[in-house]
Each structure stands twice: as structure tokens, then as C-alpha cells.
């Protein structure tokens, strides 16, 4: 069968780092083709080149047997290639309909695009993507899952023959991901060719027809999904086979380090729990259930309207992250690009960002002192990077996350809130994150670990706090809990609270 799209020997480097050395790929109509590989393997770069968003240094792309060279994403769209990016690029102050039509060559109007014309245009695509919201709502008011569907609708409105999706489920909880799979299956049956970039093995094996594995910027091979298995793919990705990691053995619990009672903010209602030294408290819940907001309340970002936070028995009331850090609380934010890192600044600058006053009392930067502090931490994280002076923006997502973790390992807080730290990173980097969580717990820190993936929560946590609609739905012991019980607590209306008429 002749491929609709064929790419060979694609190359791209950023600074001294080769993001892609030999990217090869072929795609057939009506297939879902998964693209996988560890952090920095070059998946996203390959996808971006095919979508015209990044210019390759060399290699060639053929569409229907004709060589093409895209001047930009719009050019690629004209040739029938559209992409849904990993980092959603929506316009939060524009309406849903405006987000679909903006920059869309297929939507023709005079200088005054009428709301009705826009809505008529985008209606079918919203339906196709399964997004049922008023097209006049602002994109910024949508949930993460809804934003994902809107980005999909926008890509579909280009009427592509080739659709690239870069980790579409990385921020989605299971129910939203299920919905997305159904939508993708529908697109496939209409003959669309779908490139699906993901880290999640379960979903790749469920929905894909073929799998292409990349490692260190080169294509290792392509297999039909039906003819391969998990171990084979993992071995191709890693160049080694997967070691099964046993469940984190419960460490001995110390005294209570953090005690929260009646915590209430604009997004949280009456949240209470205790966290012990050496304990990993997992936090589960749907997107929008208040997991991130719990971190914001503890970290002095959101204002408390009621409730108390006790750290080592003393009441604290941080009004800024600065005060929270001084009190002994750290937070690794969910959005590492927007809230975590300074992308143009160096690995070293970013690593020491939260400990500068401790390293340099007088205000002068002493580089050697910084290197002495940072080196062991970065080595312990097995970070791959060019030099201490290279900008963090040149690193892959997983390595960026490690720099952010290094910042907080250096800051050495008593309580560390990790907000979905494994989001969008590969198996190898995830193992590193799990290991760090265990090490921190063994050192007597209190860890709060938010995740959208239940298996890793069950594996790493001692107890799991399930949130729903800004409240604590349940706190369960991780060793005895099942995924089903947690999903039920996160999604079902409890019979004890029948008067809960939340419109959501």
C-alpha cells in the first residue's frame, strides 16, 4: 500500500544538541500510527517537522509521492497536514468559534467576520471533536480536557488528510481520554491518517495500528501493533528490557509534619488532612477537582478564606510562594513551561533559583559554590544536558522536568508538593521521578504527589487523597485500594451528600 506520507533521513539540531539525527517515517490512509520514544528521542521534533512547524536541517518529506518543503504550518495545512500541539496554543481571550476560524484559510469572510458565520463554520467540527459547549464562550474558561478538544476541532477544521496529535491525553483523566479515543476512532474510519505521539503504553496498544519507535534522535523501527508486544517495544525504546519496579514499600511513618484543617479558598471547600514525615500522600481526582488548587493554597498563591495550615505544629499562613518557601514548603508546578522554568536562562541559573540567598549571603554570585551544590544533584537525576550554561529551553521535556526537580531538591523543603510531575515524560524519566520521591520520603520529608495516572499513584503512595469538586472525597490506604474504588470516589456523587447541586 502506497503511503500517503513518507519521510526519510530528517535531521534537526538545536545548538549543539541533535534533536533528530535520522528521522524516518511512513503513514497510510486510515491508520493510527503511534510514535514513541524516551525523552529527547525526537518524537516531538519529528512531528513538528512533518507539520511544518519546524524546519529540518536535512532529509526529505514526500506526500503522495511528491517531495514537499513546508514554509510553515499554514503551508502544511494547505497540503492536508494539521497538528494538535502538546502545549495547547489557544487564544484564551477569544471565543471558541474565533479560536477555530482564526488563521484558517478555509474560512472565508469579509473584513467583518460575523459571529453567526463563524459559528456555522465551526459547528460541524465541534461536533466531530465531541466538544459540546457554547461557541461564544471564551477559550480561557474551558477546562483542560475541553481545551484539548477545542484544539482538535481547530485542527479538524483544516480538513486534513494527515492529523498529528502530540501527547493528547497527557493532561486527561481516564474518562476524558476514553472520549478522545472514540473521537479518534471515528476519524480513522473516515480514512484520516493519524500520527499519535504518546508515552502511555496502554493506550498505544489499544488504539494504534502500527508503532514507530525513536531512540536518540533516530528511527529504530516500525512494527504492526498486532504483531508485537509491550516488552519488545520497551526494549526498542530503551535499548534494554523493562524492569518491573515493586510497589514502594511503606516507610516508617514519622510525626505529623503538615496538618491542614478546614482549608477553604475560592476553589476548595473544607479540605482537611495530615501528612507525616516520610509519607507519600497521593492526590487523585478529575481535572478541575481541586488538586492543583490545593497546592496553590498551601503555597501562598490562592487566598484562604478559612482553615489553618500547621507545619510542625505551628500555624503558618503564607501569603506568597516566598513566604511558603521560607516556612519549608516547596511546589513543583504542573505547568513547567509557564510556571516552572526560565526557558532562556541556563541549567545552572534555573537550578539555583530558589536557593540563591542561602548560597550567596552578600549578593555576589559565586559560581564555584553554585557548581559544587548543583553537580551532585543533577548527577543524581541522571540529567542529560550540554553544559551548565546552555539554556533550559534547548532540553527535552523530561530533562526540563529534572532541572525543576533539582531546584527543589536543592531548596530542601520539609514538605514538597509535586503537581503531576510525570506529565508528558517518558518511562525512563518517570522511573527517576519515582526513585526521587522514595528517596525524599526516606529522608523524612512529607511528599504530596498529584497524578492523573492511577497505577503510579497506587505504586508510589502510602495513602491516597481523592478529590472531587474542591472537596476531599476520600482518603484511602494505597496498599489496599483498587483503581476502581478511587475512580468511583472521584466521579460518583456520594449518597451521603444528595443535596450537592453543583452545576458542573
Amino acid at each position: 500500500m502506497r503511503p500517503i506520507l513518507f519521510a526519510e533521513n530528517l535531521r534537526k539540531h538545536y545548538g549543539g544538541v541533535h534533536a533528530l539525527r535520522n528521522g524516518c517515517f511512513d503513514l497510510r490512509a486510515g491508520e493510527i500510527h503511534a510514535l514513541i520514544g524516551e525523552n529527547g528521542a525526537g518524537k516531538s521534533t519529528l512531528a513538528r517537522i512533518i507539520a511544518g512547524a519546524t524546519r529540518p536541517d536535512g532529509g526529505r518529506i514526500l506526500i503522495d509521492g511528491q517531495e514537499v518543503s513546508f514554509a510553515g504550518p499554514v503551508d502544511a495545512q494547505r497540503r492536508g497536514v494539521a497538528i494538535v500541539f502538546q502545549e495547547l496554543d489557544l487564544f484564551p481571550h477569544l471565543s471558541v468559534a474565533e479560536n477555530v476560524v482564526i488563521g484558517n484559510a478555509r474560512f472565508r469572510s469579509g473584513p467583518f467576520a460575523g459571529a453567526r458565520a463563524m459559528e456555522a463554520f465551526c459547528g460541524p467540527y465541534l461536533q466531530l471533536s465531541g466538544l459540546s459547549v457554547n461557541p461564544r464562550r471564551l477559550a480561557g474558561d474551558l477546562s483542560v480536557a475541553q481545551s484539548q478538544l477545542l484544539a482538535l476541532a481547530r485542527a479538524l477544521s483544516m480538513e486534513p488528510r494527515v492529523l498529528l496529535m502530540d501527547e493528547p491525553t497527557s493532561a486527561l483523566f481516564d474518562d476524558a481520554a476514553e472520549h478522545l479515543f472514540a473521537v479518534i476512532g471515528g476519524l480513522k474510519s473516515r480514512g484520516m491518517a493519524i500520527v499519535y505521539v504518546s508515552h502511555k503504553m496502554e493506550e498505544i496498544f489499544r488504539i494504534s495500528d502500527r508503532i514507530t519507535v525513536l531512540r536518540d534522535g533516530a528511527t529504530i523501527g516500525t512494527s504492526a501493533t498486532a504483531e508485537t508486544n509491550l516488552n519488545e517495544i520497551v526494549a526498542m525504546m530503551a535499548g534494554r528490557s523493562l524492569e518491573e519496579v515493586a510497589r514502594h514499600a511503606a516507610t516508617t511513618r514519622g510525626a505529623v509534619v503538615l496538618s491542614v484543617s478546614g482549608l477553604t479558598t475560592a476553589k476548595l471547600t473544607d479540605v482537611s488532612f495530615d501528612l507525616h514525615r516520610g509519607e507519600v500522600l497521593g492526590v487523585a481526582g478529575l481535572v478541575g477537582a481541586g488538586r492543583t488548587e490545593l497546592g496553590k493554597a498551601l503555597f501562598g498563591i490562592d487566598r484562604l478564606s478559612a482553615g489553618t495550615i500547621r507545619l510542625n505544629g505551628g500555624v503558618i499562613r503564607p501569603r506568597s510562594p516566598r513566604q511558603a518557601i521560607a516556612a519549608g514548603i516547596g511546589l513543583v508546578p504542573e505547568d513547567r513551561k509557564g510556571e516552572g522554568l526560565m526557558m532562556r536562562m541556563s541549567v545552572l541559573d534555573n537550578s539555583v533559583m530558589a536557593v540563591q540567598s542561602r548560597l550567596h549571603g552578600s549578593g555576589l554570585i559565586r559560581r564555584q559554590r553554585e557548581l559544587d551544590a548543583v553537580k551532585p544533584v543533577l548527577n543524581g537525576l541522571s540529567l542529560r544536558f550540554g553544559s551548565y550554561g546552555s539554556p533550559v529551553g534547548n532540553l527535552s521535556g523530561g530533562n526540563q522536568q529534572k532541572v525543576l526537580l533539582a531546584r527543589w531538591l536543592l531548596a530542601d523543603p520539609q514538605v514538597l508538593f509535586l503537581d503531576d510531575p510525570t506529565r508528558g515524560i517518558d518511562i525512563g524519566a518517570k522511573q527517576d521521578v519515582y526513585r526521587i520521591i522514595r528517596e525524599l520520603a526516606a529522608m523524612g520529608k512529607g511528599i504530596i504527589f498529584v497524578s492523573s495516572e492511577l497505577p503510579e499513584l497506587l505504586r508510589c503512595s502510602d495513602r491516597i487523597l481523592v478529590m472531587k469538586d474542591g472537596r476531599v472525597a476520600a482518603i484511602v490506604d494505597a496498599s489496599g485500594a483498587s483503581q476502581e474504588a478511587i475512580i468511583a470516589a472521584a466521579t460518583l456523587v456520594r449518597p451521603t451528600a444528595p443535596q450537592d447541586h453543583d452545576a458542573r
Binding site: S320, M342, M345, G363, L364, I365
Partner: protein
């Protein structure tokens, strides 16, 4: 290098251009804008802008001159001059401090806040001087002595050089300088990392006001007067120097050496065009092209 590039343009005046006296004249001419541009670089690095520097310069020249001519028979010239300068610098730094406090505390966009203070401080300078120039004169009194000292080439160029070195050091070798760059790169991430964002912003605008004050003192000496109408458009010249030197108005990217190069580029260009008797209106048009060219070249090289 620039001198070589422009040598065909400067053919008539190239002999004069290369004389040491002319080269140091260029340095002296760019010093006032150059000093403002140094601090402007800090402001722009944080993602801000300061439109009030020209007005603060006017306030500073006016206060300097007013204090100097306040009494004609002064026993201790040094103390009197020091008091005049201290007054001008304190007022300038205070104006910058107010900019910073309003920007950081009320969280209003820097463009709006400094636009307001550009108008307000200009009004203050004009009101204090009753809209009149205050002549320092060329006699043998304390005011003239001040002007003779502070219009001296080595003092002017020395001030610019010293401030350049100091601010380069602060930006690249201190925690404060790193905070400035970090906030411009990603302010939200800075907040999450516990950086003292409000404090850094306040100091950056105070620094910018102070440097406009220094420039104002030098301006008063250079022109032998306190002029409440001085410095109109200087904010744009300072911003242009920073931008030509590679500072991004989006914040996070820029350096002191870059801004110095930007300042000298404008200075050398102006000097050459003048040596060749080119109309000052044409000079403005050439400057416009240079700004765009400089930024376009940097964009190309940073994209690859």
C-alpha cells in the same frame, strides 16, 4: 569596525573622524543618553519600560541649577555643589521609586505608569522653574565652577564608563541581576521560585530614575542651564540604544555591553553624518533604518 563600514559615507570627514579629539567627542556626546540607556536595559529586561526618564532628567537639571544659583556668595563651593547634586539625585531616585512602587503594588502596566509620570514630572519641573530656563552663567561664582567641572570631558566620559562597569557587574554577577533577568524571562515562574518580584521591580525603576538624575546633572553642566524642557524624546533614544544592542522588549534578553554598542552605533552614525554636513532631518531617517536593520539582523542570527 563601524568606522570602516561607514567610511565611504564619511569620506569628506573621515580625516576629522579618526582624530582622537573627535572620537572622545563622540563618547562625550553619547554619555548622557548612554547612562540612561544602561538603566533602561535593566527595566526592559524585567519586561517593563520607562517613558519618564526624559522628564526626570529635566527635573534633575532644573533642581541642580535652582540650588546652585540660590545664593551668590557661598563660602564652601564643594559643599554647595554636593548639596545641589544630592538634591537632584534624591528627587530623581524618588520619582523612579514612585514609578516602581505603583507598578509593583497596583500592578498597572509600566507603560501606563511611566507615561503618567512622564507628564506629571515634566509638569513638576516646569512648575518649579515657572517655565523658565535657569542660567548657570560663565562668571566666577559657584554655579559656573560647577559647570566647568562637570562639563569636563574626562568627568563626563568617566561617569559613563564607571556606571557601565558597575551596572554590567550588577547585572551579570549579582543575585539581583539574575533576578532581573529571571523576572523578564518568566515572571510567573519567578513567583513560584520565591523571587522577591515586587522588590526587584521597585529597585529597577528607582535605579532608572537615579540614572536619569545623573544624566540631568551632566546636562546642566554641559548646557550651562537648568532647563525644564530638556530631555524630550530621550526615553526613546535610550530605548533605541538598548534595542539596537540586542535587548528584547519582551524582556529576558539583553546585556550591558550590547546596550553600550547600541549607544555607540547611534553616536558614531550621528557624528559621521554631521561631519559630512548632512541635514539633521535626513539623520533621523537614517537612524530609523538603522534601528530596523540592527534588530532584523539579530533576529536572523538568533533564529538559527
Amino acid at each position: 569596525m563601524l568606522a570602516v563600514i561607514f567610511s565611504p559615507v564619511a569620506s569628506d570627514g573621515s580625516r576629522i573622524f579618526l582624530e582622537l579629539g573627535n572620537l572622545s567627542d563622540i563618547l562625550r556626546q553619547v554619555s548622557i543618553i548612554g547612562i540612561i540607556a544602561l538603566a533602561m536595559t535593566f527595566v526592559i529586561l524585567t519586561g517593563g519600560i520607562d517613558l519618564s526618564v526624559g522628564s526626570i532628567l529635566a527635573l534633575s537639571t532644573s533642581l541642580t541649577a535652582m540650588w546652585l544659583v540660590r545664593s551668590s556668595n557661598v563660602a564652601d563651593y564643594g559643599a554647595h555643589i554636593a548639596a545641589a547634586i544630592a538634591l537632584a539625585l534624591a528627587a530623581s531616585a524618588a520619582a523612579g521609586l514612585i514609578n516602581g512602587v505603583v507598578i509593583a503594588s497596583l500592578e498597572i502596566q509600566p507603560f501606563v505608569v511611566t507615561l503618567a509620570s512622564m507628564i506629571g514630572v515634566r509638569g513638576l519641573a516646569k512648575w518649579l522653574t515657572s517655565n523658565a530656563n535657569i542660567d548657570i552663567g560663565f562668571g566666577r561664582d559657584v554655579a559656573a565652577s560647577f559647570a566647568e567641572t562637570f562639563r569636563n570631558k574626562s568627568i563626563v566620559i568617566g561617569s559613563y564608563a564607571a556606571l557601565s562597569a558597575l551596572l554590567w557587574f550588577v547585572l551579570s554577577r549579582t543575585v539581583f541581576g539574575r533576578h532581573v533577568r529571571a523576572i523578564g524571562d518568566n515572571e510567573r515562574a519567578g513567583r513560584y521560585a520565591g523571587l522577591p518580584i515586587r522588590r526587584v521591580k521597585i529597585w529597577v525603576y528607582a535605579l532608572c530614575g537615579l540614572s536619569a538624575g545623573v544624566a540631568g546633572v551632566l546636562y546642566a553642566a554641559e548646557n550651562h542651564q537648568g532647563n525644564p524642557n530638556a530631555g524630550v524624546g530621550y526615553e526613546l533614544d535610550a530605548i533605541a540604544a538598548a534595542v539596537i544592542g540586542g535587548t528584547s522588549l519582551a524582556g529576558g534578553a539583553g546585556s550591558i555591553p550590547g546596550t553600550i554598542v547600541g549607544t555607540l552605533t547611534i553616536g558614531v552614525l550621528t557624528n559621521m553624518l554631521r561631519l559630512n554636513n548632512i541635514d539633521s532631518n535626513v539623520e533621523m531617517m537614517v537612524k530609523a533604518v538603522i534601528i530596523i536593520l540592527a534588530v532584523a539582523v539579530q533576529r536572523r542570527s538568533s533564529n538559527d
